[in-house]
Amino acid sequence: MNLERVPNEEKLTLCRKYYLGGYAFLPFLWLVNVVWFFKEAFMKPVYTEQLQIKKYVKRSALGLLLWVTVLTTWITIFQRFRAEWGEVGDYLSFTIPLGIP
């Protein structure tokens, strides 16, 4: 969708929808929000709704950062220590590699 031809109020509703949707354990919505509205929020000349859009984009970015940190930490720990966890590691896995511990 080309944001050039969308009126500002609709831009604001879109941004808010994506921001609120991200709270349902959907960090990708926040990612999309940040990437899509970045130009609108920070690089376009000022218009009325821009302040609110800026707020939503900033908060989406924060949420995204939090998710990235948590997921990266968990994935690193799991990949590194799954073999040592034995039974627990096996029960947490969807696909267990063959032939290696």
Partner: protein
């Protein structure tokens, strides 16, 4: 490689066939797991590639491990170099070793070597610290002094066995042409390389692999390992009601035991001529010799012949039978057993001497001691007049590894194990691929047809017949039979030589073909190798019985049973006629395809009635789900997807990187060109027309 492929692949132009030569005969070493360890070999999922190197001597290892310039290497070993010291050095240098291929010779080596441990089954026998600390762990006698323990080591590269045939010549030629360092100069790329695939799915130990077998919610449930299992074969001279399990009042049974299985370092090669075949052939012949006597003048006690499977792997078969007896899941129980006579390794008896081993700890009890002494006296009187002498070792020595030890773990039963060694094994190829017919000196005069070879009585067969006669006569007196009949109990050398031929030389012979049903004929293979176990797909499908076990069952049925006039349909349904519901408790009925009468080609089948039955030989640890059990065998074998090997020429690493770099460069260049051309498109492709309106 190039020349050979064009000969072997006429008219096909596939690029793959021009690069790779596939090996036809590949025998891998596979991974086995138990409660604590994993043993055997493993390769990468995409195979292990290594530059070929034919090892000339142990000093040459330095090239592979340190000074060679093109690691990793795939080492080709002659069988004389397949020793523990070389393999351990290769194992330690495994970052530079991609795999090992052992060329097995056509003749046995002159020096004895055994890949098994020096103290077989030391943890699951009867000699534990509790039973007698002085006798545990082979403190008194090291049974297998030539044992290197190679079969129980873990390697993280594949080890394959190859025969001395055309493929191996191709490999050597490839090495000579490309890899040979001539006159001090290092060999240049392209070099001859081999790739071996033997990726094993299971890992760590039995508990882990059984758990991974049973995980329910994974995306693609896969079986990674199978417990070792097969069937024991047993029969009794007086039929026992097999449906009424547990203690049988008034039954006193003499158990005659022998072992069926064997193994070697590699998968599926297990001739076991002296380790296993000699023992069970002697017992089969004894059972045959006793058929008439036990039917015409049945002795007071019953005789139970038991052939145990899986004894190599911590006594799977015998531990299962003892467990079944304890849980009242077998036709008799431990209280019914009067005594045990086991036939161990009896093929090699030098100077025709047999040794009678007994357990000194249980003999400290005077009543057990009396019974054992009586048994030994009966053995000696049975051997009198024959060309073989039996004696005790003469000093206090524990029992050799034998199924009888598992029975002793449960009860102090009097018993004797007959072996051909006084102390350590005389078998210098115990559980090795060289323990074959040649080792037992089974040789036939040249120019005999297979049928003539089948009937020719070799010297080994004659010697084994003597042993069988001793066993048969002893069993008869031990069961309470009359001494006067002893002279008429004789084993048949014709029978012995046929069975030896069938199990050690060629199993697809005319006699075996008569004894089995028609659907088993395809399982008889040309090359005789004893399958040592088969895998149970653990509850998901009926367990398969390996062909040798079935052969022993049909043989035992033929040698101890009798023909009955029953139709094929009734025979398959274990009944004599339509309404018969009782016969199946006492007898088992087997339909065999028989021989073709002289003037026709159709075989005339018949029904064999006997007391020969199968009983499951799966370690109790798997029924009890105790995968870390110390009392029972916990051996499992890993599953795998492909086992193959191929050779090809491999280029230097620099060349590969150069090719990749050039390819990436071409990609980037073309991307850049496309971008430049598309951004300057209006200049480059102007044709004077009005530009089209923006459509979007």
């Amino acid at each position: 490689y190039k020349d050979v492929t064009s000969i072997s692949c006429v008219g096909c132009n596939s690029v793959e066939k021009k690069i790779y030569v596939n090996l036809n005969y590949t025998v891998p070493c596979v991974r086995l797991l138990n409660a604590t360890h994993q043993i055997g070999c493993q390769s990468h999922l995409s195979g292990n590639v290594g530059v070929l190197h034919v090892l000339e001597s142990e000093e040459n290892l330095d090239w592979v491990l340190h000074s060679g310039l093109t690691p990793p290497y795939l080492v080709i070993l002659e069988s004389s170099l397949f020793t523990r010291s070389i393999m351990m050095k290769l194992k330690n240098g495994s970052s530079r070793v991609a795999g090992v291929a052992v060329v097995t010779p056509n003749a046995n080596p002159s020096q004895g070597t055994s890949p098994h441990t020096s103290c077989p089954n030391e943890n699951t026998g009867v000699y534990t610290e509790n039973y007698d600390p002085t006798m545990a762990r082979c403190n008194v006698t090291v049974w297998n002094p030539l044992g290197t323990g190679l079969s129980y080591e873990e390697f993280d590269f594949p080890i394959f066995a190859m025969k001395e045939d055309n493929d191996t010549q191709v490999i050597r030629q490839c090495y000579m042409d490309h890899n040979r360092a001539g006159n001090g100069s290092t060999p240049q790329y392209p070099l001859c390389a081999m790739q071996l695939y033997s990726h094993m799915s299971a890992v760590t130990d039995t508990a882990t692999c059984m758990r991974r077998n049973n995980i329910n919610f994974s995306l693609s449930p896969e079986m990674v390992c199978d417990p070792l299992s097969d069937f024991n074969v047993w029969a009794s001279t007086r039929p026992l009601n097999n449906t009424a399990k547990g203690h049988k009042e008034g039954e006193s049974v003499v158990l005659a035991a022998a072992r069926l299985d064997s193994r070697s370092f590699f998968f599926d090669i297990a001739p076991g001529a002296e380790s296993g075949v000699s023992g069970f052939v002697a017992l089969l012949a004894a059972a045959h010799a006793l058929r008439n006597a036990t039917q015409e003048a049945p002795p007071p006690r019953n005789i139970l012949y038991a052939f145990f499977h899986g004894e190599t792997f911590d006594y799977i078969g015998s531990s299962r039978m003892v467990y079944d007896m304890e849980k009242n899941n077998f036709a008799v129980d431990l209280d019914n057993i009067h005594s045990v006579l086991e036939v161990g390794q009896v093929g090699l008896h030098a100077e025709s001497r047999l040794w009678l081993h007994s357990d000194p700890v249980s003999r400290k009890n005077s009543s057990v001691n009396e019974e054992v002494k009586k048994l030994i006296l009966r053995l000696q009187s049975a051997a009198s007049g024959l060309n073989v002498s039996v004696e005790e070792p003469g000093f206090s020595q524990p029992l050799p590894p034998s199924s009888f030890q598992r029975f002793l773990r449960a009860r102090p039963i009097p018993g004797v194990v007959i072996e051909d060694h006084r102390s350590a094994f005389t078998n210098s190829f115990y559980e090795s691929m060289y323990d074959n017919a040649e080792y037992l000196n089974i040789s036939y005069p040249p120019d005999l047809t297979p049928d003539e070879q089948l009937e020719y009585v070799t010297d080994t067969a004659k010697a084994l017949t003597e042993v069988a006669t001793v066993v048969a006569r002893t069993l008869y007196i031990q069961a309470g039979g009359a001494e006067s009949r002893l002279g008429s109990i004789n084993a048949d050398p014709q029978m012995v030589t046929r069975i030896l031929y069938g199990f050690l030389v060629r199993s697809n012979n005319s006699w075996f073909q008569q004894l089995i049903p028609s659907d088993l004929v395809s399982h008889l293979s040309e090359s005789r190798c004893f399958v040592y176990y088969l895998l149970d797909s653990y509850g998901r499908a009926p367990a398969l019985i390996s062909p040798p076990t079935l052969l022993v069952q049909y043989l035992l049925a033929n040698l101890t049973g009798s023909t009955v006039n029953v139709s094929q349909d009734d025979c398959w349904n274990q009944r004599v006629e339509e309404q018969d519901k009782e016969s199946k408790h006492m007898y088992s009925y087997l339909w065999v395809q028989g021989a073709a009468p002289p003037n026709s080609t159709e075989r005339v089948g018949f029904c064999m009635r006997s007391a020969a039955r199968l009983s499951k030989a799966l370690s109790p640890a798997f029924d009890l789900h105790e995968y870390t059990s110390k009392d029972y065998s916990t051996w499992t074998e890993s599953r795998w997807k492909t086992i193959k090997g191929r050779i090809f020429l491999v280029a230097s690493h620099e060349l590969e990187m150069l090719t990749l770099g050039v390819g990436v460069g071409v990609l980037l260049t073309s991307l850049m060109l496309t971008y430049i051309m598309s951004s300057k498109a209006d200049i480059l492709f102007s044709s004077g027309r009005e530009p089209a309106n923006a459509t979007y």
